[in-house]
């Protein structure tokens, strides 16, 4: 994985000093909260309902064992012995004291980590495919390009006061595991007919209150123009994105209002100009970054058989692993969704165990998935049973990847000052309901996503089943959506009809699941059945 050199380290160290200074000015009363707010937000420090929350960047979700351990230590020392992994492949600490913020950043800097641009109207942490470098279906590892973009976007002087936040995702396979088209810019690394690698640019996707699927504005940007093209996309947005209304300020609104064709025309004109400015890093820089993402020393001829004699292990192995490009290896997914648990939360001790497993069994690497789980990307099949036993002993062996219990949920009204309704208790109750009725396994792949407000941090638009919490005259009310997908068949869910109470929404999810079970044909997932039969049968069962 990528390692800092003296330049990267100096930049992060400078940021620690700067932010320490800003926090001190606030504590001393030299900055008002109003003046301090944009500064702390540029560094991932939010003031939530009960305390400060600090969001730490995990570039493209990749962590070494040492880094995961440092995150555990921070949870122990500065928080309540746990952390929350997010849909941006980051981690958040919910109970931070302002006085500690500088020290936490200093701890992070020691392991080449930071909280730079994890909030604010700037380019946020670059996300990517969590199976990068391991999946058999990728044309190349997308992470070198994500790293190139990370450096370019860090402290970008022109794009630090954009109309609104800005999110990139980079993938390199036709299977989209990163919700690429629901980002401000989604990049797919592709190979053209001449066999050269390049980048397809999808611009103007997003969730929030106006969900949109990004159109492709260019099929192929040569790799030695990747930064220049990104700069052109951002400059047009910075100049013409709406600033009169924060709810219309994301790039998706600009692309929608101008039309993809006109936006593209403006980007291409800017691109032609910027190509003459020499702003693209030399190819040698990309080559340098690539060396950090070469394959680890896989064991040639590793045994390709799994010992499935333990039935509980066999269930987990079938459910929570993903095929690897190297024979004899798998990617193993650690579910942070135990029955009735808080989606994405991990205790400090669990983080330490995951760090140890990464070091012992996965070439010192683990990844955060945007579904709030953790991957050990490179596990020998021969070691998988030992890995599972250790996970199982620590409450991390839940076999529910992509099932109804593997719920994405935002922090909701339990923590977030923007929320209208609680998300976590709803997720917990749904998870318990399907564990009790035993339907989880029968239902197969069913992606359920819950947001506690219209900002859609819980990706409810993209859930096969989505839930949106709203405030209805002071009472929490939950809308049900069906038919969303964040994968390569991207679609946006549709609201079924009137919302439900907290009890009612749990019943409604089960009712929708039952409609699917009654109607499904061979091999169909919930989403496939919904797409075939449409909304009506579900509506009838829910409201009829």
């Amino acid at each position: 994985m990528y390692q800092y050199d003296q330049y990267d380290q100096a930049m992060v160290d400078a940021r620690v000093a700067e932010f320490r200074d800003q926090c001190q000015r606030r504590i001393d009363g030299k900055l008002t909260e109003e003046q301090f707010k944009p500064l702390r937000l540029m560094n991932g420090l939010y003031l939530q309902l009960h305390a400060y929350m600090l969001r730490v960047a995990i570039p493209y979700g990749t962590l070494s064992g040492r880094q995961m351990r440092a995150l555990a230590d921070i949870a122990d020392k500065f928080d309540r012995k746990y952390g929350h992994f997010t849909t941006r492949q980051n981690i958040q600490y919910n109970w931070i004291k302002l006085e500690d913020a500088g020290d936490i950043l200093a701890e992070l800097a020691k392991v080449e980590m930071h909280a730079i641009q994890t909030s604010g109207n700037c380019i946020r942490n670059i996300s990517s495919d969590h199976f990068a470098g391991a999946a058999a279906d990728e044309v190349t590892d997308p992470r070198p390009y994500a790293e190139l973009l990370r450096q370019w976007s860090s402290f970008h002087p022109e794009f630090s006061y954009l109309p609104r936040k800005f999110k990139f995702a980079v993938i390199a396979s036709d299977t989209d595991r990163a919700a690429m088209r629901l980002h401000d810019i989604g990049i797919q690394i592709v190979r053209n007919e001449a066999g050269e690698l390049g980048a397809a640019f999808y611009v103007g996707g997003g969730m929030g209150r106006t969900p949109m699927i990004a159109p492709c504005i260019r099929q192929f940007v040569p790799l030695d123009q990747l930064i220049t093209y990104s700069e052109a996309c951002l400059r047009v947005y910075n100049r013409y994105g709406r600033r009169d209304n924060k709810y219309k300020a994301r790039i998706k609104i600009l692309v929608h209002e101008l039309g993809a064709e006109e936006y593209t025309r403006q980007v291409e004109a800017e691109f032609a100009h910027l190509l003459e400015q020499g702003i693209e890093p030399p190819f040698a820089e990309l080559a340098r970054i690539r060396t950090f993402f070469e394959d680890p020393a896989f064991e040639a001829g590793a045994a390709d058989e799994l010992d499935r004699s333990d039935p509980d292990f066999a269930v987990w192995a079938d459910r929570n692993t993903h095929p690897h490009k190297q024979a004899g290896y798998l990617s193993a997914v650690i579910s942070l969704k135990p029955v009735g648990g808080i989606p994405g939360d991990a205790t400090a001790d669990q983080m330490r165990l995951m760090a140890q497993l990464a070091e012992d069994y996965s070439f010192d690497e683990c990844r955060v998935i945007h579904t709030q789980n953790i991957v050990l990307p490179h596990v020998r099949k021969a070691d998988l049973y030992a890995v599972w036993q250790k996970l199982e002993a620590s409450g991390l062996g839940t076999p529910n990847l992509d099932q109804v219990g593997d719920i994405i949920a935002c922090p909701g009204l339990d923590y977030c000052s923007l929320a209208n309704a609680r998300s976590i208790p709803v997720a917990q109750r749904i998870s318990e309901r399907f564990a009790a009725n035993g339907k989880g396994e029968t239902l197969g792949e069913l992606k359920l996503k819950i947001s506690g407000c219209i900002n859609a941090c819980g990706h409810h638009h993209a859930g096969h089943i989505g839930i949106l919490g709203v405030d209805k005259k002071g009472v929490e009310n939950y809308q049900l959506l069906l038919g969303g997908s964040e994968a390569e068949d991207t679609s946006l869910g549709k609201i079924t009809g009137p919302g439900f109470s907290e009890d009612g929404i749990v019943d409604a999810v089960e009712t929708a699941a039952d409609v699917y079970l009654a109607q499904r044909q061979d091999g169909e997932r919930f989403l496939d059945t919904y797409r075939r039969i449409g909304m009506e049968p579900f509506k009838e069962a829910l409201y009829g």
Binding site: Y7, D8, Q22, P38, Y161, L162, I279, A284, E285
Partner: protein
């Protein structure tokens, strides 16, 4: 009048700044003031007679002025580029990187804070128009001059 912080050796232009539209129409105007919604590219045909560009930041969070300044620098403008308005010490390094060489903030900035802010980051990841050598050039020795 707000205090002027200037990183240039030439004389301060005395001409009053006019709006972009007025500047384009008046062949004797020498100074212009760009508001956030203005298109800086309208000035490109007139760079020869331009002595002073003021870019107004009514609120510091409106970042359009950063693009305006860089565009003019990329097209060869070498006169004074002055950031005016809600200009705070925490933005000053980014403004400088985008081509600003004079600052006229609504609230005066302490000289030592400015010095500290401009010296804070040892290097930069991007190529802009301020002449700093980006990190990728330092790594690979591809810097010219």
């Amino acid at each position: 009048m707000a205090e002027l912080l200037r990183f240039r050796d030439d004389a301060v232009p005395a001409e009053p700044a006019v709006t972009v539209d007025a500047f384009v129409e008046q062949s004797n105007a020498l100074a212009v003031r760009i508001e956030p919604g203005d298109d800086a590219r309208k000035l490109i045909p007139f760079l020869d007679r331009l002595r002073l560009v003021e870019v107004n930041f009514p609120v510091f969070g409106d970042g359009r002025g950063y693009s305006a300044a860089r565009i003019l620098r990329e097209h060869g403008y070498s006169g004074e580029m002055r950031a005016v308005g809600d200009v705070l010490v925490d933005q000053i390094a980014y403004l400088q990187r985008c081509g600003f060489d004079a600052f006229e903030p609504d609230e005066p900035l302490a000289a030592e804070d400015v010095e500290k802010a401009l010296a804070r980051f040892p290097q930069a990841y991007q190529q802009t128009t301020d002449g700093r050598i980006p990190i990728w050039d330092l790594r690979h020795g591809t810097a010219h001059g």
